[in-house]
């Protein structure tokens, strides 16, 4: 066991719940490893880390990690985390979600958390499908793919997760894949360091459901797709319009300094405490 492995090993809950629920070959464990290595590298006290999740395969991630872990309802992880972050602004609050969790049932919370620019590290593991329930279409299922609920082919456009976060106002937005692990480690680490809403979209896969329905039966084939179909930011910029449709662009898409919500709220507290008593307002007559 090398030092990095020993480190992440210390962050696992060994006494309970292993082996994990994920299929052999799943990408979620790779994302979890990136998170643990980032916590270790940044030397954040375990007691100061909270991991919040919703429902789905990715939602099961927190239970294995020895932090303060909150497994909430489907789609609502960011809303729970918003309350927790306001109560404990000093904590590193990491929210892990799947694509269905974050963008279908939780889509509203996703854009609003980004709009508020609240200091959460949001990690969306995008496998383009609802894995836990058996491979139904998700908001990121590509056009033309086959799923358990699109047996003839999927006819809806996929959500561009990173672009959605950017137009909503997130301070930090990055995209990685579970194939490019060292790069992913760096992206997650930068996201954790960021003050403000930091999103990392991790493109993963589900060979069990998506792969089976789309002629990509093994994790190796799906990994190879991630390798062949993705380019770093610099290459994408160079290619410009020549970039093939559907290419995954990896790297940091945005890194801006802008005021973070809990810090702004601290200013409100200062203002409210120091302000003279508010002017007496005219109370409307009748039913107020």
């Amino acid at each position: 066991m090398n030092q990095a492995e020993r480190g992440t090993y210390a962050y696992l809950r060994h006494h309970k719940k292993f082996p994990h629920v994920w299929c052999a070959g799943c990408g979620i464990g790779i994302v979890m490893g990136s998170m643990l290595r980032s916590v270790q590298k940044l030397e954040i006290d375990q007691n100061d880390v909270a991991v919040v999740s919703g429902i789905g395969c990715t939602g099961r991630m927190p239970v294995y990690m020895d932090f303060n872990t909150l497994h909430t309802t489907h789609g609502r992880a960011l809303a729970f985390a918003t309350g927790l972050k306001l109560a404990r602004p000093e904590m590193q609050v990491i929210v892990v979600m799947g694509d269905g969790d974050a963008l279908a049932i939780g889509g509203n919370h996703f854009i609003h958390a980004a709009r508020r620019n609240i200091g959460l590290t949001a990690i969306v593991v995008n496998n383009s499908i609802y894995g836990m329930t058996g491979g139904q279409s998700s908001p990121t299922t590509p056009l033309g793919a086959y799923t358990a609920t699109a047996p003839y082919r999927h006819i809806e456009q996929p959500f561009p997760i990173c672009e959605l976060a950017m137009v909503s106002g997130a301070a930090f937005v990055a995209r990685g894949t579970v194939y490019h692990v060292t790069e992913l480690d760096k992206l997650v680490e930068r996201a954790m360091r960021k003050q403000g809403f930091a999103l990392v979209e991790v493109v993963s896969y589900c060979h069990t459901t998506f792969g089976r329905a789309n002629n990509l039966k093994s994790p190796i084939e799906m990994m190879r797709q991630l390798k062949d179909n993705s380019v770093p930011m610099a290459v994408a910029e160079k290619q410009g319009a020549a970039l093939a449709q559907g290419t995954i662009v990896r790297g940091v898409l945005r890194d801006e300094d802008k005021p973070e919500f809990t810090q702004l709220y601290d200013q409100i507290i200062e203002q409210a405490r120091g302000a003279p008593p508010p002017r007496k307002r005219k109370v409307p007559r009748g039913w107020g």
Partner: protein, 393 residues
């Protein structure tokens, strides 16, 4: 003590602050919005936090999150928002996270009659979320009581680690009355039980003698897992019968064994009453007036049982009150919700429902009318309403 002429919603907000509330998350909805407005102004003054969320689902999620962080937290809403909150109310019940939900009831179903009064959310407060779970719901009848019962709601939530719902009707929420606000220091405030053991021994969902396990806030060194999946004493998901069964029994037992404290009611002239009125919220005020008139005008022996606690339903209290009565009248601004419970306890032939769901309050005259009816009419269980929808035999 200071006397003020204030609205029920304000009394509720002030009660929350007196109880130690330091977090509010909500979404605007009439007739509850004043509570949010007041909290947005007052909370930062005491270092508390206010946030307006994107919807009611997010609102209750945020207060549960803040409560996990150690803050006393609340939200306020009305029918449509209360409907949206249901799933996460179940989450709070399953994970035993203290939180207070104020529901200022307006006429439904759906958007209904914004924002005429109603008491139509009583059953939803009990059964709105899926699965079996204990819940506490209280109903104030006046502005001073809105203050008191909000404090009580927080105390119950923290002490028993449960969501508590304050069912305020629109009349109480928007009515202005004189309130003698107590000195904040004199208000009885209870806090959640905190662990007295080192983290490695800590069981956030264990079975202590009190049946209410200690709740450590996140970030204090007690690293543990919270999940809406059924869980063991440490909080880890389980499907083992020997771990689930004790949990299910305990969460109900922790409420049942404290009924003496949780059940609150008021009696007026029940001792020799032939007719007993069971009422709650603003409707109890009409009932009080009806009783006064019945005694003065007709010399009738009538009594009032006013429920402050609606859930858990005070079965024994109602049973005792109705024991010697020939008739039990249940007036409420719905077509029979608490009446269903009263019927379950005292038998349906004794009970006369006086309900309306048209956005108008129940008048003392309506209740008086019900008192005048013969026992045979009562046995037909008709619903008295302004339209007098008589069910013919």
């Amino acid at each position: 003590m200071t006397a003020q002429l204030i609205q029920g919603n304000r009394a509720c907000a002030l009660g929350a602050l007196a109880a130690g509330c330091s977090f509010y998350a909500g979404y605007p909805i009439t007739p509850s919005s004043e509570i949010a407005e007041i909290m947005s102004r007052e909370l930062p003054k005491i270092g508390g936090k206010f946030i307006q969320m994107e919807d009611e689902i997010a609102s209750i999620a945020a207060i549960i999150g803040a409560s996990v962080g150690g803050l006393k937290a609340m939200t306020a809403t009305s029918g449509p928002g209360f409907s949206l909150m249901q799933e996460n109310i179940g989450y709070a019940a399953a994970t035993e996270i203290p939180c207070v939900i104020i529901d200022v009831m307006r006429t439904g179903p759906s958007t209904g009659l914004p924002t005429s009064p109603s008491q139509g959310d009583v059953m939803q407060a009990r059964w709105g979320t899926h699965g079996d779970h204990p819940i506490i719901a209280l109903a104030p009848a006046s502005v001073p009581e809105a203050f008191e019962l909000t404090v009580t709601s927080f105390n119950f939530a923290e002490k028993f680690r449960t969501p508590v719902i304050l069912l305020m009707d629109e009349v109480v929420g928007h009515m202005r009355e004189r309130v003698e606000l107590p000195d904040p220091a004199s208000v009885q405030v209870d806090d959640r039980p905190m662990p007295g053991v080192p983290p490695e021994w800590y069981e956030p969902f264990g079975s202590p003698p009190s049946d209410v396990p200690a709740l450590a806030p996140f970030g204090e060194g007690y690293r543990y897992h919270i999940t809406g999946l059924l869980h063991d004493a440490r909080g880890f998901p389980t499907s083992r019968l020997d771990e689930i069964q004790p949990w299910v029994e305990r969460v109900f037992r922790k409420i049942d064994r404290n009924l003496g404290e949780i059940l609150q009611w008021e009696e007026d002239g029940l001792e020799d009453a032939h007719v007993v009125v069971v009422a709650y919220g603003s409707t109890a005020r009409a009932a009080k007036q009806a009783i006064k008139l019945a005694r003065a005008r007709y010399g009738r022996k009538v009594g009032l049982l006013r429920l402050k606690t609606l859930w858990p339903f005070p079965e024994d209290v109602v049973e005792r009150a109705a024991e010697d009565a020939q008739r039990v009248i249940v007036p409420e601004m719905n077509l029979g919700q608490v009446a269903l419970e009263v019927e379950r306890v005292v038998g349906r032939h004794k009970v006369l429902r006086v309900g309306r769901a048209d956005g108008h309050v129940i008048t003392p005259e309506q209740i008086l009318d019900a008192m005048r009816e013969s026992p045979t009419q009562v046995s037909r269980r008709r619903i008295a309403s302004p339209a007098a929808r008589k069910v013919e035999p």
